[in-house]
Symmetry: C2
Subunit: 349 residues, 2 copies
C-alpha cells in the first residue's frame, strides 16, 4: 500500500482517485483554491459533484490550506491541474514536494517558444525545479481517457511517461487495475506531444458536424466528412510528431486514440460544432458560458510554432492546411470552410 496525494480535484484528478483507492492505497484528494466547493461536497457526501458515482470508501479530502499535511509521507503526488494551473502548480506546489517523491501529472499541453519549438509542461516544471535548486522526478499520463468513463470503469489504455523506467514501473504498480491499463515510456516528448497535438484536430473533425447541421438543417452525423478530416489529422499529427523527433508508431497510436476519444468525449466537440454552424469563437464560448478550453490554447500555440519554424525553413506550412484553417477560425474569425482539396495527395511510386 502506498500513500497517494492528488493535487487538484477537477474531473481528471478526481477520477484517478478511483483506481488509486481501489488498489488499496491511501488516497488524499486536495482541492485547489478553485475546488473549494468540490472538496466540501465530497467531504459531506463522498461524491464529486460532477460524477454519478461516489468515490471509493476511504478517500480523504483536503482543502488547499492543508496541502502540506496531504503531501507529508506521500509515495506519489498526482498533479491534477488543468493547463491553466501550470504556473500555479510550479510556484505553489513544486516547492513543497520532497525530492524523493515522484510526481505524475495529468495536464496536457505544449508551450511554444520564440524560436518555434514546442516544449512539454514537464520541461517547464523541470526548469522551475532547477531554479528552486531541486531535482524532481516529473512524470505524466497520456492517452485516451475521459474522466467520467474512467469513473465508470470502462477499459482504458494510457501511457505513463518519465525519465526513469523503474520509477514509471513503480507508479504503474500503484495505479494499474483490471480496467486501467498502463503502458510506460521514457519518450516524454513523444507521449506529451501526441496527446496535446490532437486538440486542434478534434475541433476540426467536429467542425464538419456543425457545417452539415447549418447547411442541411439536420442532425445526421455524416461520417464521410468526419473521416476525411480524421485522415488529414493523421497526416498532420504524424508530421508534427516527426518535427518533435518522436514519430514512433506507439506515440502515433496514443495520439490517434486520444483524438478519437476527444471527438466524442468532450467540450472541444461542442465548440467545434458551434464554430461549424458559423458562430465566431467569441459567440461559441459565450454559448458555452465562457468556459476556457485548453484545446484552443494548444491549437494556437502549435500553429504559432509551425509558422515560426516554417519561416526558419524547418517546416512547410503547406503540409498543415487543416491546422492553419482551424487557427484562422480561432484567431481571425474566419468562416468554417474546410480546404478539402488541399487534403488530397498525388503519389507516383
Amino acid at each position: 500500500m502506498a500513500i497517494i496525494a492528488i493535487i487538484g480535484a477537477g474531473m481528471m484528478g478526481s477520477a484517478l482517485a478511483f483506481p488509486a483507492r481501489e488498489n488499496g492505497n491511501e488516497v488524499r484528494l486536495v482541492g485547489t483554491h478553485l475546488d473549494r466547493e468540490i472538496i466540501s461536497e465530497s467531504q459531506k457526501t463522498g461524491k464529486h459533484p460532477k460524477f454519478d458515482t461516489a468515490f471509493p470508501e476511504g478517500v480523504k479530502y483536503y482543502q488547499i490550506e492543508d496541502v502540506e499535511a496531504a503531501i507529508e509521507g506521500a509515495d506519489l503526488i498526482i498533479g491534477g491541474v488543468s493547463s491553466f494551473g501550470v504556473e500555479w502548480f510550479g510556484e505553489k506546489i513544486l516547492p513543497l514536494i520532497p525530492e524523493k517523491t515522484p510526481i505524475l501529472t495529468v495536464t496536457k499541453g505544449l508551450i511554444d517558444t520564440e524560436d518555434g519549438k514546442l516544449i512539454t509542461y514537464l520541461d517547464y516544471w523541470q526548469d522551475v525545479a532547477k531554479k528552486l535548486g531541486k531535482s524532481l522526478s516529473l512524470n505524466a499520463v497520456g492517452g485516451p481517457c475521459t474522466s467520467y468513463e474512467l469513473v465508470a470503469h470502462d477499459h482504458t489504455e494510457v501511457a505513463f511517461c518519465g525519465k526513469d523506467i523503474a520509477t514509471l514501473s513503480r507508479i504503474r504498480s500503484y495505479m494499474q487495475t483490471d480496467y486501467y491499463h498502463v503502458s510506460i515510456s521514457t519518450d516524454i516528448v513523444g507521449i506529451e506531444s501526441a496527446v496535446a497535438l490532437k486538440n486542434g484536430y478534434a475541433l476540426g473533425i467536429a467542425l464538419t458536424i456543425g457545417l452539415n447541421q447549418s447547411e442541411r438543417g439536420d442532425d445526421t452525423p455524416h461520417y464521410n466528412s468526419q473521416a476525411a478530416v480524421f485522415g488529414q489529422s493523421v497526416r498532420e499529427m504524424s508530421r508534427l510528431l516527426a518535427f518533435q523527433g518522436a514519430d514512433t508508431l506507439d506515440n502515433l497510436a496514443v495520439g490517434l486514440g486520444d483524438l478519437y476519444v476527444t471527438v466524442y468525449g468532450g467540450r472541444t466537440r461542442l465548440v467545434g460544432i458551434l464554430l461549424g454552424r458559423g458562430l465566431t469563437i467569441d459567440e461559441a464560448l459565450a454559448e458555452l458560458n465562457g468556459i476556457t478550453l485548453e484545446s484552443l490554447v494548444v491549437a494556437r500555440r502549435v500553429a504559432r510554432a509551425v509558422r515560426v519554424s516554417a519561416e526558419r525553413g524547418i517546416l512547410n506550412t503547406a503540409d498543415f492546411p487543416l491546422l492553419f484553417h482551424i487557427d484562422s477560425i480561432l484567431n481571425e474569425k474566419a468562416a468554417p470552410d474546410l480546404p478539402w482539396d488541399s487534403f488530397r495527395f498525388e503519389y507516383t511510386k
Copy 2:
C-alpha cells in the same frame, strides 16, 4: 463529356452514378443478375430502392443482358461488385472490356495465398486478363466513403490507385466534384491493403460497444475502450502495411480514415456489437438475416496470412493480439474478451 458504364447496381456502384452524372457524363448503370429489381425500380422511379434521393436526371439503366450495349463506346468502366462478385466480374465482364478502356473498381478486399502473402483484387484480375491474352488498365477506389453519404453530397476524400498516373488523372477528371475529392496514387498495394485491412479492426472497436451493453445493460457509448482498441488498430494496421511494403503516411491516413467511417457507417458495426454482447458469429448473422459480410472474409484471410508468415519467421503473431482475438471469435466461437494488457507497450528511449 465521357461515357461511364457502372457494372453492379449495389449501393456503392450506384452512389458513384451521382458524381459521375452531375459532372455531365453519360452514365449507364448496369445491374448484375442480383440487381434485377434495383434496375427495374430505378427504370420506373429514377430512384435506387435503398437511397432516399433520386438519381440525377439522365442516368440510364440496364439489365445484365444489355451489358455489352452499356460497355459499347464507354470511356470508363466502373466495377461496382462486392467481394463476392470478384470471380464473376473476372469471368463475365473482363472479357467484354476493350483494352483501351480503363476500369475503376470499388471492390475492397485482399486474397491470401498459400505462402502467406496478401494480394489485391487488381492483381487477381490482372492474372485473369493475362489468361485472356488481354492487357487491361485496372484501377481502384479506396478511402472513407459510405455510399449513402456520398449520395447526400457529404464531403468525401478518396484515393484512386492504378499503374499509370496519367490514366488516374483522366479518371479523376471524369469523377471529381466539389464534394467528391480525389487523390491519385500508383501505390496499388498500399491503397488497396489500407482499406481492406480496416475491416476486422472496425469489428474489434464495435465489440466494445456490445461488451459494455451486456456488462452494464446500458447504451452509453463508452469511448475510452473504443479509443483503446482504435489505438491498437493503428499499431496493427501500420505493421500490416509494412508487411505489404506500403507503410507510407498517406496509405495509413487513408486506411485509418476508412476505419473511422466503418466503425460508424456500416453493417460491420452491427455485427461487432452483437458479437460483443456474446452472440456467436452464426447467431449474429442470423439476427442480421444472414447477410454476408465482406469484412469477416477479409479478417479471416489476413489472420491466415499472418499466421503462415509467422510460421515462416517473417512476422510475429504477438504483434497482432487484436487481429487474432477477432479471428478466434469468428472462427472458434471464442467469447469476446479483449486482451487489453497485450495492447500495452514498454519503451525505453
